[in-house]
């Protein structure tokens, strides 16, 4: 939903970043306003996953120049947990398996830390279980997964559901979903997409990172950005995704076709 006067949630300006001295992002500009759904598309290695990790504050990446502002405030010097508490959520492409740590406990500690930030009451074990059981329905997840270790032995689809469950619990202001559609069959994809759509509000925004069109059939983006070699080459509406599907990334990446990004 595009509203020109909606407030800016995320503002990325001329962002350059590297990992182990290897430059990956080479000047990314992106503005996301409340209520909007954006999609960043690109080939493997175009830098789109790096972008998502930098917004969340992954320590392996070094920002060499540029700015990332979240609700008007530069967040690049914030710890990852402080960003998460402030309302930045990253749905991982490969959710990490953490043997021995109970999923339920993990979800509760995370949820409570966000609730404290939002001036909401911390939930005790019982209240939290009520909340989590309600949210489970959203992603059609079996409560049995709460008893297991975080993501351990989960199938690809189950891991992604667990990500969206976390999103539902943390009520983020901006959700960045990194290849959330990868490895999902069509039914699971629909469940995830329905969850994302339900969680989208006029006060929050979503950034989908993907290289397939199919997720975008389910979650309709307001803007589509094409990324290549660490830059956003082109920005358009949802029809751009269809164009990519039909003609491939070449038609965007060839210099003659490039339009200025504004």
């Amino acid at each position: 939903m595009i509203k020109k006067d909606a407030h800016l949630i995320l503002e990325i300006t001329d962002l350059h970043a590297s990992v182990e001295d290897q430059p990956i992002l080479q000047g990314v500009n992106l503005q996301i306003r409340a209520g909007e759904i954006h999609a960043v598309m690109g080939r493997n290695g175009s830098g789109k996953s790096t972008l998502s990790k930098i917004i969340a504050g992954h320590p392996a990446y070094t920002v060499t120049s540029g700015e990332v502002k979240f609700q008007g405030k530069d967040i690049l010097n914030m710890e990852p947990e402080d960003r998460a508490r402030a309302g930045v959520f990253l749905g991982f492409q490969y959710p990490v398996e953490i043997p021995g740590v109970s999923n339920l406990e993990f979800l509760r500690v995370a949820t409570n830390s966000r609730r404290v930030e939002m001036d909401e009451e911390e939930l005790d074990t019982f209240a939290f279980e009520d909340l989590v059981n309600e949210k489970l329905k959203l992603v059609q997840m079996d409560p049995i997964f709460l008893e297991r270790s975080v993501n351990e032995g989960f199938s690809g689809g189950e891991k992604k559901r667990n990500e969206i469950l976390q999103m539902a619990l943390l009520q983020p202001i901006v959700s960045i979903l990194d290849e959330t559609d990868s490895g999902l069959d069509i039914d699971a994809l629909r469940v995830i997409a329905a969850g994302v759509n339900q969680l989208n509000t006029p006060y929050s925004a979503t950034l989908l990172i993907t290289h397939y069109q199919r997720l975008l059939n389910e979650v309709i983006p307001d803007f589509v950005h094409v990324m290549s070699s660490g830059k956003i080459l082109r920005t358009g509406g949802k029809e751009l995704a269809l164009e990519l599907e039909e003609y491939g990334y070449d038609c965007v990446e060839k210099p003659s076709n490039n339009k200025e990004v504004n």
Binding site: A60, E81, V96, V109
Partner: protein, 413 residues
């Protein structure tokens, strides 16, 4: 060395049912001498602690030390379970009605066992076995049979200022199912030497847990010997924590292959402690399975050691063995040594081992932080999880032991 001889000479005259073993053990000790760091298996051991063990007087028979204060640490007696308190010289079966299916070996059976065994698991090359043989005077030997047996709990509590050796043999008959929990508790300035032999019959299933918790100046050396017949399942979960020196040696033999072995170990060391596990699994027949996961976490100035050997001779075709040694090094004054070993002759086998030493996984910490959890909280959750992955394998009855919660609370970066 002079002290060592003196110590040997100070031992009481061989006596009791283990008389012959005592004589043999002492001869072995005289022959082997004190271990030195030039020997591969003693390369990393803190020999000062070992020496301290020998400076302690051998335990004298009375149970005064089992005062209420000590017993407070113990968990409630299991509801339908069965508890024995083991030490060197008092009879653990005194005033006890053994449940159906469990009986002591007759003296003829004991005799036979000792003769058969002494060759197989000999003191002549193993110092820890020799120490135990040389000193242990009491022998708890049980024959166990049945499918609906109550869980068996064995407590070894050490006495301050004393050295306690214990020796146990369990003959688990064909198709028997049993949960066994061994708890070794250290007292200040004490030492224990344990030797447990277990014979698993065909199709028998034993879930064996060892909780070994020491405190400062408490030392433990322990040996476990297990022989598995075909179709048996043996699962051993050990937790070692808090000893000045703890050294657990285990030898598991699948006599004809076709059996399952699961070994899970956790060692958590802090201060100046040294915690070590030396395990060896031998497949003497085809189609054996082993799954082994050994974890350690070392903080402060402590030292964790793991040496895990897997032997697959020619007749052990189609063995499937996987061993993993995962280690957390949490202080820059601590040290971890690990040495997973494979010795393979059979060609149609699947054997793997892996070892890692590191801090907590950065990706795991980041994942949690990206959900708003602080580094400290994440660390503590991860460490708890790290330990729980092993603790969850203990027989269920173990979880009555609150010391396990203490362990979880005590592991910190």
């Amino acid at each position: 060395m002079a002290d060592y001889r003196q110590w040997l000479n100070s031992l009481p005259e061989p006596n009791g049912v283990l008389k012959n073993l005592q004589t043999q053990g002492r001869a072995s000790l005289a022959n082997l001498g004190m271990p030195t760091n030039t020997l591969e298996e003693w390369r990393l051991t803190d020999l000062n602690c070992l020496q301290k063990i020998l400076n302690l007087p051998l335990y004298k028979p009375n149970r005064d030390y089992l005062d209420e204060e000590k017993q407070k640490e113990w968990a409630q007696r299991p509801k339908n379970g069965f508890r024995l308190v083991i030490d060197s010289q008092t009879n653990p079966l005194e005033d006890i009605n053994l449940p159906n299916g469990i009986r002591p070996l007759t003296s003829a059976e004991v005799e036979k066992l000792l003769v058969q065994r002494s060759n197989q698991y000999s003191s002549s090359r193993n110092w820890q076995v020799a120490i135990n043989n040389a000193t242990a005077t009491n022998f708890l030997a049980l024959k166990i049979e049945g499918q609906n047996l109550p869980p068996l709990e064995l407590i070894m509590q050490s006495d301050s200022g004393a050295f306690i050796p214990t020796r146990i043999a369990l003959i688990v008959e064909d198709k028997t199912k049993l949960n066994l929990l061994q708890v070794a508790l250290g007292a200040a300035n004490s030492a224990q030497s344990h030797l447990v032999e277990i014979y698993l019959g065909k199709g028998a299933e034993l879930n064996h847990g060892l909780i070994a918790f020491g405190i400062e100046e408490a030392n433990m050396i322990a040996n476990l010997f297990v022989e598995q017949k075909t179709s048996s399942h043996y699962s051993f979960t050990s937790v070692q924590h808090g000893w000045s020196l703890s050294r657990l040696e285990s030898l598991i033999v699948q006599t004809n292959g076709h059996a399952n072995t699961t070994l899970k170990g956790l060692q958590v060391s802090s201060k100046k402690q040294q915690i070590a596990t030396h395990s060896r699994v031998k497949f003497e027949g085809p189609q054996g399975c082993l799954e082994q996961l050994q974890k350690s976490a070392a903080t402060d100035n402590s030292h964790c050691i793991f040496n895990g050997s897997i032997q697959v001779p020619q007749l052990a075709q189609k063995t499937n063995a996987a061993q993993l040694s995962r280690n957390l090094l949490m202080s820059n004054r601590a040290r971890i040594d690990t040495k997973p070993e494979l010795e393979i002759i059979a060609d149609d086998v699947r054997c793997t081992h892996g070892a890692t030493i590191s801090q907590l996984q950065e990706e795991e910490v980041f994942y949690m932080r990206s959900r708003g959890i602080t580094t400290e909280q994440a660390t503590s959750l991860l460490l708890k999880g790290y330990c729980k992955e092993i603790l969850d394998n203990l027989p269920v009855e173990s979880h009555r032991w609150e010391i396990l919660d203490k362990l979880l609370k005590s592991v910190k970066r």
